[in-house]
Symmetry: C3
Subunit: 291 residues, 3 copies
């Protein structure tokens, strides 16, 4: 599977035909649907692919992690990402154009949500800070009181995504921003060392617990060689030895294992069960691996 497989018809030579949409809006309310409606109205020829909308509320790091995981599977287009605890405040809105063979733009708040994904997509070629339609930056605080300021996904970011799709140039959306000024979030903890007796030690962080209870770690799969049969795992007050396996089916029922998951990251897993429950692990918890 390569990003240059089947040719994708473009809405316009200068635009894009796909919006990939991620948020913490949830599915209990009409937030996601209203953003779709805005995109449908402003860029009717565009397909919208929902990546996920149940990022925990306000959790910018969790949103950034999900975006990084998704990026390798996306074709060209606009990535619209909104996890935005600072909405209405002085934080800027961004469009990041990335390098690489596929034309791709990331649209969302300047709070660290987009950066790791943009790096994964090839790195930032150009960055602009979104301006409001009357040319004022959205951060000037000079907006009329009670102008809507709580739903920028609908009012600012979706229109910017639609504009990119229909051929508006990056320069028309705002002024350039120095990449070094962009807000960043802490990267996942990954410390690699040794115990002293020749054994290797990795201290890393749980970055994600998925629906099935698999606990993804910040360290890549290759950190612990696939040829290593057994790894000691310390998580919270628990310590145990687990097998390094290739897939769930290599495990016995109820056995905890360590594998390289579908994103190429280490993950603690149980076959048809929840490793997170078994080990009492959640996002942000630290885990030590020794082998």
């Amino acid at each position: 599977l390569t990003g240059t497989g089947a040719p994708v018809p473009s809405a316009s030579p200068a635009g894009a035909d796909t919006v990939y949409f991620l948020s913490d809006y949830g599915l209990a309310d009409e937030f996601v649907g209203v953003v779709h409606a805005v995109l449908r109205r402003l860029a009717p020829a565009v397909a919208v692919v929902d990546l996920v909308h149940q990022i925990p509320p306000y959790d910018v790091r969790a949103g950034a992690a999900a975006l990084v995981r998704a990026v390798p599977h996306l074709g060209p287009g606009v990535v619209l990402a909104v996890v935005d605890p600072g909405v209405g405040g002085p934080r800027r809105g961004l469009v990041l154009e990335t390098d690489g063979p596929d034309r791709r733009w990331f649209v969302g708040p300047d709070n660290g949500l987009l950066l790791a994904a943009a790096a994964r997509a090839g790195g930032i070629r150009r960055a602009v800070a979104l301006e409001s339609p009357d040319g004022r930056p959205r951060t000037d605080g000079g907006a009329a009181v009670d102008e809507p300021a709580t739903f920028d996904g609908r009012d600012v970011f979706a229109p910017a995504a639609a504009a990119l799709c229909t051929g508006t140039g990056l320069d028309a959306l705002g002024g350039p921003v120095d990449e070094r000024e962009l807000v960043r979030v802490p990267e996942p903890v990954v410390e690699i060392g040794s115990v002293g007796d020749g054994r290797r030690l990795v201290r890393t962080e749980v970055t994600w617990v998925d629906r099935f209870g698999n606990a993804q770690l910040g360290a890549p799969g290759a950190t612990v060689p696939a040829s290593m049969p057994v790894v000691a795992v310390a998580a919270g007050t628990q310590a145990r030895s687990v097998r390094r396996v290739r897939t769930f089916a290599d495990l016995d029922p109820d056995e905890v294992g360590l594998l390289s998951d579908g994103n190429g990251q280490l993950a603690l897993v149980v076959r048809e069960g929840s490793a997170a429950d078994r080990l009492a692990l959640g996002p942000g918890d630290l885990v030590e691996l020794v082998w």
Copy 2:
């Protein structure tokens, strides 16, 4: 953003190219997917935009409120809305054609779900009661026993929406109904008065608690002037003073505030927190504001 922005290609001069779909079907079952499949089969060129499907089961008022909030953001097309506790019984099925620059139809049960949204969309131009394919109204009780009578979203409303999209005229779907005969739901409580010492009093209802815990009120944002610094709020057994602000970012952590939200309604909010939890508020609860 205006409703007449980019031109939307129409599936047919007489039809529509978009269905906006709202329901209480939830996402745990295949109900929503099956309705999509019916629309795909009967009107394959049409795009379906899901507004929300997690309206609380049978909660017609909550569905009506979500529809009203969404309407200002929709382009032309068919709004298919199904929150239908009376399915299979004598309640009628409706198509409401609205006035206004955009051609728009609302399809769903005659239980009050559609009316406020149709009013918001420009008012009702024509209303018809859906008839079954053999010409009998769906309300005659004469259906053969065990004819499916529990999933009209799939069997009645989606086919009607598809027919409108593919150019079927309103008259072919049923007979005219007098707008004054349509079933209505109570509007949100909004009582405006004064305390006697010159201070204003608004007694209103919580209409919606969103995923983030923001408690939207029945009173519009302009009810409490944005220039009013502090407002007394009595909710249940609690009373407190809150700041009238423009957006979340104006609040301190854990502070409750009052703002005009993304729908132009008053809302009680906490920055990165749940006002509903803080004030023990849920939909239907009454709140008093004094300033």
Copy 3:
């Protein structure tokens, strides 16, 4: 409504223009979105209809039941279904081509998920076991260690669905499989007998509890004649008489009833309430009906 209603434009004479997608991936993570992205990249002209993604994790029988319920409402196209506890292990991946007027393929794991739906769609005409792109069956165990082996929905099944849509022939995807060798899951319990005094007895299984608390049974609606006014129901330690009705509206508030539901199956229901809660029933529980 027939499957041959409006003509559906085809992506290619030999392909398909619609993918119907069911899984147990849930909506909390980006799994579903990433599969959509893969389909968008490999078959950009195809519409993807999500049937449901909240099948309980690993519950192949529940997934098979949902698929059977959906099939009568689907047009031609590819059904992509992934409930896959054996992912990465020796279980095969399948494409089933079905008989019948509509061209339809079912893609997913060989664990019983697809069979009842394929039977409902007209029966299996041809079956193939998916091979990996280099020609090795996905079951040979010879894959390089740490080749991704945990997300075949993304890596194997979605690409196969996309290939079918864009005109790849079935033979190019793998070798033929004898239908009699396919893995099966137990069908729902339905035992029909009599009590001895002339009354009929049906012992059957709860196959599904939907969002509203309706408890669908394994026995078809016609098992208990619609003309039968009252039926004795024994569920767990509870026994009661319930009315056989046509629809929810025939019931009094809080009354439990028995009807033929939207899938033509018997179901225990409460009007605007949960029969499953009232009777303490869940999927797999046995129920006896006597009349």
